[in-house]
């Protein structure tokens, strides 16, 4: 196997990163329109993982994740506008269900698509201020393992974790205590190194999952569980070390660290935390 991004994939990653950075702070619908216009929703699995990692890095507020990795794979098409889907059988905490133009319901009789406006789906208040989650009130829902959705959450989580680490690195390079930059202390270095290793591990498994999905490889369900579990484990470590290393500054609303910590934690909590997916891997 080859586990290096090729030239086009690297170029895509760079383009996405620059575009997302440029769109930062713009109105949400402008961001959404731009992503649609660039055709990101139609990207194949590995490319989609790269896009989602960058959107996770930016704590993207649009319904891109749910539309690309929840609605589209389940229905086999893109929605008119934005879309989401229900996987858990109970319709709890469905990403973007309060604002999606179309909602895919997985029922015992197959997939039913309902216009969002016709559903009772009240938004639930969640800690991540830019995340939309809603309870969907519908009958006959069944649960499923949606590989693309798990991988989408994993990729987003990896991006959010990487942003936390980058913010931490900037902070510990600049902030001096006892006459030395914090980053020169070994206790700080070791936490940063462990965060890096956890991110690399989760990212590798996410890319592997996307590859198996793209090639319809029989390992794809296992790979999706591994990616989701590794991303969850990664965020747990990154959340703890990240907030700790920022000290009191990281505990404030003003510091942007909070958005990325919350996005990473949300990605772990949605569709099952790490231990749920580890259990799914047992022989």
């Amino acid at each position: 196997m080859e586990f290096e991004l090729d030239e086009e994939q690297r170029l895509l990653r760079r383009t996405v990163r620059e575009t997302v950075a440029k769109m930062r702070g713009r109105p949400e619908d402008q961001q959404w329109d731009t992503y649609l216009r660039l055709g990101w929703l139609e990207a194949p699995p590995l490319e989609l993982a790269l896009i989602l990692e960058e959107l996770g890095y930016a704590a993207d507020p649009t319904p891109f994740l749910a539309t690309a990795t929840w609605f589209a794979p389940l229905t086999g098409r893109l929605p008119e506008g934005s879309g989401t889907a229900v996987f858990d059988g109970a319709g709890r905490y469905v990403l973007d269900a309060d604002r999606a133009d179309e909602v895919a319901l997985l029922t015992g009789r197959g997939v039913i698509v309902v216009p969002g406006a016709e559903l009772a789906a009240p938004r639930v208040p969640v800690l991540d201020p830019h995340l939309h989650a809603a309870h969907v009130d519908a009958d006959g829902l069944v649960a499923a393992v949606p590989e693309p959705a798990l991988l989408g959450l994993a990729a987003t989580c990896v991006g959010a974790c990487r942003r936390v680490l980058d913010l931490v690195l900037d902070h510990v390079r600049q902030r001096a205590q006892f006459g030395r930059p914090l980053g020169s202390f070994q206790a700080v270095k070791h936490k940063a190194a462990d965060m890096h290793v956890a991110i690399e591990r989760a990212r590798a498994l996410t890319h592997f999952g996307a590859l198996t999905l793209a090639e319809n490889d029989p390992r794809r369900t296992d790979a999706a569980h591994m990616a989701k579990a590794a991303a969850g484990e990664c965020q747990r470590l990154v959340f703890r070390h990240g907030l700790q290393l920022f000290g009191a500054m990281g505990f404030t609303w003003e510091n942007e660290l909070q958005y990325h910590l919350k996005r990473a934690q949300a990605c772990d909590l949605l569709l099952g935390v790490a231990s749920v997916h580890r259990k799914a891997l047992l022989a």
Partner: protein, 385 residues
């Protein structure tokens, strides 16, 4: 990025697999156990020689040195085939992978003929004299001195943790040849025959058993070493050390992956239904993926620290989980234990307790986990020294 294997690598693998099927030594011969990491049992000497003659010993080398100019992915396939059959190509891995490899990179034609080829043909074995009592992770602090003399050097000092030195014919020792130079400069690499006057070796047991002799203290007192035993330029031993370790390290992750694979297989009975089993599978998959990525063009060598840290710590956690899963049975210590289970594993299987204890070799040797974390933080993440 793609899942599919490279057909050229697979053809290479198939050729080697066919060779192994035809030439692997029989089981009876394999029962003779090695005494240390430099002691090559009789059957294994013949086996290493067979590999050398066929160009399958170090396939990355040119044909005259037991290879076939193989690419890095081909070398990986070669090691994977050996591991799949739990066969080692040599019981003297440092002699082969580090010392002979260094000789082939930095040695003169005469040195290659005199030392490298006999090591490759398992006629002699070699040990690596790097660490000292006050120079472990901080290798540049080494103090063993070699003072130039009319036709060579006089060496005085002490080495420690010298794996297999008591069974080795020659020591590749890193010594200080210019005491006034900055730490990294002023070091040279010298081939010291272990039979030379003034060389005293004291093997000592490992945590696994009092008679599990691999570690050595080596005392060097007025040892005369001829000039022609200097490997590489005078005072450039640091470059030799880094060069020799470089290639070996590229594929180092594979040994952890193979050990995880072993653990996964051997612990399956205890592991079924337990969450750590899933963690083990994830660690193994991630390690293999990141290892394959490291074979790509222009990868940062510092990333090898990610592989070493992830791999060695995963082996350690997995061994501990397996030990705990076996409960009190883990106390048992079968009479036939040992690290050399690569050939015909069932005869040399270790207890879970022993495997956990031995896993610390991975997190301590070759740069501790703490040193790997420093490397990651400083060289990859750019934190200040």
């Amino acid at each position: 990025m793609k899942l599919a294997d490279d057909p050229e690598v697979e053809a290479f693998r198939a050729e080697f697999a066919a060779f192994l099927d035809a030439h692997l030594p029989d089981e009876a011969g394999a029962r003779e156990r090695a005494g240390s990491s430099a002691h090559v049992p009789r059957w294994a000497r013949r086996w290493q020689r067979t590999l050398f003659d066929a160009g399958w010993l170090l396939p990355g080398q040119p044909p005259e040195y037991g290879g076939r100019d193989a690419t890095l992915p081909q070398q990986l396939a070669h090691l994977e085939e050996l591991a799949r059959r739990r066969v080692y190509h040599s019981f003297n891995p440092q002699g082969l992978g580090i010392i002979a490899a260094s000789l082939l990179t930095f040695g003169t034609e005469e040195q290659k003929r005199r030392w490298a080829v006999p090591i490759l043909r398992a006629e002699i074995t070699a040990a690596l004299g790097m660490s000292e009592p006050e120079a472990g992770s901080d290798l540049a602090s080494l103090r063993t001195r070699a003072v130039p003399d009319r036709d060579g050097f006089v060496v005085n000092g002490q080495k420690v943790w010298t794996s297999g030195a008591h069974d080795a014919d020659v020591l590749l020792a890193f010594v200080r040849t210019d005491p006034d130079a900055p730490k990294h400069q002023g070091i040279s690499a010298l081939l010291v025959p272990t039979g030379a006057e003034g060389v005293v070796r004291r093997p000592f047991g490992s945590i696994a058993a009092e008679d599990d002799l691999d570690f050595n203290e080596v005392f060097l007192t007025d040892v005369r070493v001829p000039r022609e035993n200097l490997l590489g330029p005078l005072n450039e031993g640091w470059r030799v050390a880094n060069g020799s370790l470089g290639h070996e390290r590229t594929l180092l992750w594979l040994s952890y992956a193979e050990r995880l694979e072993d653990l996964l297989r051997d612990a399956a009975d205890a592991g079924a239904g337990q969450e750590w089993y899933a963690t083990l599978r994830m660690d193994l998959t991630a390690l293999r993926l990141l290892g394959h990525r490291q074979l790509g063009q222009d990868r940062d060598p510092a990333e090898i620290s990610v592989l070493k840290l992830l791999g060695s710590e995963a082996v350690q956690s997995a061994s501990l989980y397996a030990l705990e899963a076996h409960g009190v049975e883990g106390l048992e210590h079968p009479a036939r234990t040992g690290p050399y289970h690569h050939m015909h594993h069932e005869h040399f299987i270790s207890s879970w307790f022993e495997r956990y204890a031995r896993s610390f070799a991975g997190t301590i040797a070759g740069g501790t986990s703490e040193i790997q974390r420093n490397i990651i933080a400083e060289r990859i993440l750019g934190l200040p020294r």
